[in-house]
């Protein structure tokens, strides 16, 4: 029995292949508009740690320059340097000054050093950008503010996510 030949449509090899890019352009235009909307025009770029959840605020203030300080449920750090450890509710006892429990000596030393070495005007003026976890109690934040003001950093700007 003879086998049936498979149907193959005739293709005119002289015809050029035309790709319709209209739908692709539509899609890219939508993506472009979305990206332009989310484009950050602020001169300051902050990178909060992935495990830190900041509070939400109605404030629409644009970020200004200052010394970036991160206060998570585990630690207090400036840049990548960890200055003190937090146990969720308070600083570890050995990170606090035994005579003054609101004072964090490591933070004070670090801020003094930054103040001497910096060339950024906002940092020289004593401006701190505090990125803190939203579940931290005021007792922890108060100690940071207390030590910062003792070290000549009285302006603490609270960094939040926008609503």
């Amino acid at each position: 029995m003879a086998r049936r030949k498979r149907y193959t449509p005739e293709v005119n090899k002289k015809t050029a292949l035309m790709v319709n890019v209209t739908s692709l352009t539509d899609m890219f235009t939508v993506i472009l508009v979305f990206l332009l909307q989310t484009y950050n025009t602020s001169e300051v770029q902050l990178e909060p740690p992935p495990d830190l959840r900041m509070p939400t605020s109605q404030s629409e203030g644009v970020l200004t320059q200052g010394l970036e300080m991160t206060l998570s449920k585990e630690s207090l750090s400036i840049g990548k340097e960890i200055l003190a450890h937090v146990n969720g509710k308070d600083f570890n006892a050995n990170d606090k000054d035994p005579k003054d429990p609101n004072f964090i000596p490591a933070l004070f030393k670090s801020l003094e050093k930054v103040s001497k070495e910096t060339t950024v005007k906002a940092v020289k003026d004593g401006q701190i950008l505090l990125i803190a976890d939203r579940e931290l109690p005021y007792a922890v934040i108060k100690k940071v503010m207390y030590t910062a003001s003792m070290a000549g950093f009285p302006q603490v700007k609270l960094i939040t996510t926008s609503q």
């Binding site: 890219f28 472009l32 203030g61 939203r134 700007k157």
Partner: protein, 178 residues
Amino acid sequence: MGIKKFRTHYEEFELDLTPLLAIIMKLVPVLVISSSFLQLTQIETDLPQVVKQAIEDQNKNPDKLAKIKIIVDDSKTMNVVVTKDDATDTSSIPAKGDALNLEALNSKLVEIKKKNPSVFKIELAPSDSMSYSEIVTILDGSRKSNNSDEFIFVDPKTGKEVKTDFLFPEIVFNNIFQ
């Protein structure tokens, strides 16, 4: 005389989208890299010049205007203390279940603002156990009215009446050294 050539509407007009697509293809990666999908803000922000002037005036003459203080205790009850000319008026706002009663606080602050339109600064004394996010909600509630109310105050520089929607944008934590 030339002969006019008319195009029939049956002719198809094809727009070449390839260059547009090429531009978009170059723009998209640039924007993807530089976009920030987490919108960050900061609470202390720039204020209108007139409000700034009024705050400076209040800082220079602290005894002239009323002093407003919000004290929050461990049970999340907010006590709003207004001191003016040696007279003190205290209003207590109890917690709403387990949460702060922010609506009542905002209404109380609007009421105080109407009586003291030139005051832009308040002192906040949260309890040690209060969470950071709760403090931020108090800061938000103290900054502007929930009902978009406007307040008229006299500009200390020009002496003219000015409208503002700010309640108390200058907030000082007053129990840091306690």
